[in-house]
């Protein structure tokens, strides 16, 4: 009978007869679910959106990290600002952000949405999407490659971890006593009828 930590921190794994037993806390579990299913809004603004679309397609396949574009802001956790935020579009971007349920995250992708980029001196381009909504991760580049967006998603996952760790003391899972494990094992054996 062995017990030890999984590679995921905070997840305790116990081998019992007929399988394994995982113990964790609700906080950790919710946190883990949140960072493994970051659903972005299907929303592109300019040329950076082409790179974002490539990221979702089969070659880069962000679905393997649980990043899966959703058609409505009501179901989205992440707003990827992929392109030039023009002043005419800015109220709509702000509104999309307000329509997303909390907790919500924003990734600013590319020079344009970071600071205006090549259109800094234009009369019609907002000088950065952070003039209207808070941003969690900035990606430099014009356009950033899908690998950079991948890094942004990883950074966001680390940030989600950090948000909840910082907010409250996470209860570490207490290992079950030897007696409790014995009882569980007996129950498992009798359930198998052997």
């Amino acid at each position: 009978m062995t017990s030890g930590f999984d590679i995921l921190h905070g997840l305790r794994r116990h081998k019992i007869v007929g399988g394994e037993l995982f113990l964790t806390t609700v906080d950790f579990f919710v946190d883990w679910g949140r960072k493994s299913s970051i659903w972005p809004l299907t929303f592109g603004l300019a040329c950076c959106a082409i790179e974002m679309m490539a990221s979702f397609a089969s070659k880069f396949d962000f679905d393997r990290m649980g990043v899966f574009p959703r058609p409505t802001p009501r179901q989205a956790d992440l707003l990827i600002i992929s392109g030039t935020v023009v002043k005419k579009m800015a109220p709509a971007v702000e509104r999309l952000y307000q329509e997303m349920p909390s907790p919500r995250f924003v990734v600013s992708m590319g020079a344009c949405s970071n600071c205006g980029g090549p259109y800094y001196d234009s009369y019609s381009v907002a000088k950065g999407v952070d003039k209207i909504i808070p941003v969690d991760v900035y990606i430099p580049g014009c356009p950033p490659r899908p690998e950079a967006l991948y890094t942004a998603v990883q950074t966001l996952q680390e940030k989600i971890d950090a948000y909840w760790d910082a907010g409250k003391q996470i209860l570490k899972p207490v290992p079950p006593s030897e007696e409790a494990l014995k009882k569980i094992n007996e129950a498992a054996i009798s359930a198998r009828g052997s």
């Binding site: 002043k87 005419k88 800015a90 600071c115 205006g116 800094y120 001196d121 009369y123 019609s124 381009v125 907002a126 000088k127 950065g128 003039k131 209207i132």
Partner: protein
């Protein structure tokens, strides 16, 4: 009325395309433009579409150029005939102080939005246009940004350090 002396000139300015599939070859040559008076523009355009020798049925594009030193806006119309495979460029000039010209959107409905764009960005007024309002800039925007004397008013989306901001040099440093 269509000015008769223009007929010869038009025939000299037309870019003929002989090979099928070839696009009209516009050259940057003053001889390749047909320049008309603004008061004649509508009649000339009507003739260019209707006369069997011209049949310019496809308005490719129209735009404007701001010649601030000459104090004129030059309006440029690119036309093409899909039946006769020939092209022509028509130019006219309106004064900057009162830029106004007859709309050709009744001749080519495709010119409707092109004229709205020129109105939006240059402030040229088109008479008898069915729906002359801004098309690119948002409602409540003031000014015509592609005019060379346009001064940008900083708003809440700007950082206030752009080139051309009053009181700042091009590095964004306040001018003493």
């Amino acid at each position: 009325m269509f000015p008769v002396n223009l007929v010869i000139e038009i025939s000299q300015r037309i870019h003929r395309v002989t090979l099928p599939g070839e696009k009209p070859n516009y050259v940057r040559d003053p001889e390749s433009f047909l320049t008309v008076l603004p008061s004649n523009l509508h009649d000339v355009c009507l003739a260019l579409r209707e006369f069997p020798d011209y049949l310019f049925d496809l308005p490719l594009q129209m735009t404007a150029v701001d010649f601030i030193n000459e104090k004129v806006f030059e309006l440029v119309y690119y036309l093409y005939s899909s039946k006769l495979r020939q092209g022509i460029i028509v130019k006219t000039q309106v004064p900057r102080t009162a830029p106004e010209i007859e709309s050709v959107s009744d001749i080519w409905p495709g010119m409707d939005w092109q004229e709205r764009e020129v109105y939006d960005l240059f402030g040229v007024k088109f008479r008898n246009h069915p729906n002359l309002k801004r098309i690119m800039m948002w409602e409540g925007f003031s000014g015509h940004p592609l005019r060379k004397d346009y001064v940008h008013q900083t708003d809440k989306y700007d950082s206030g350090l752009e080139i051309g901001t009053p009181g700042l040099d091009e590095r964004g440093v306040p001018i003493p």
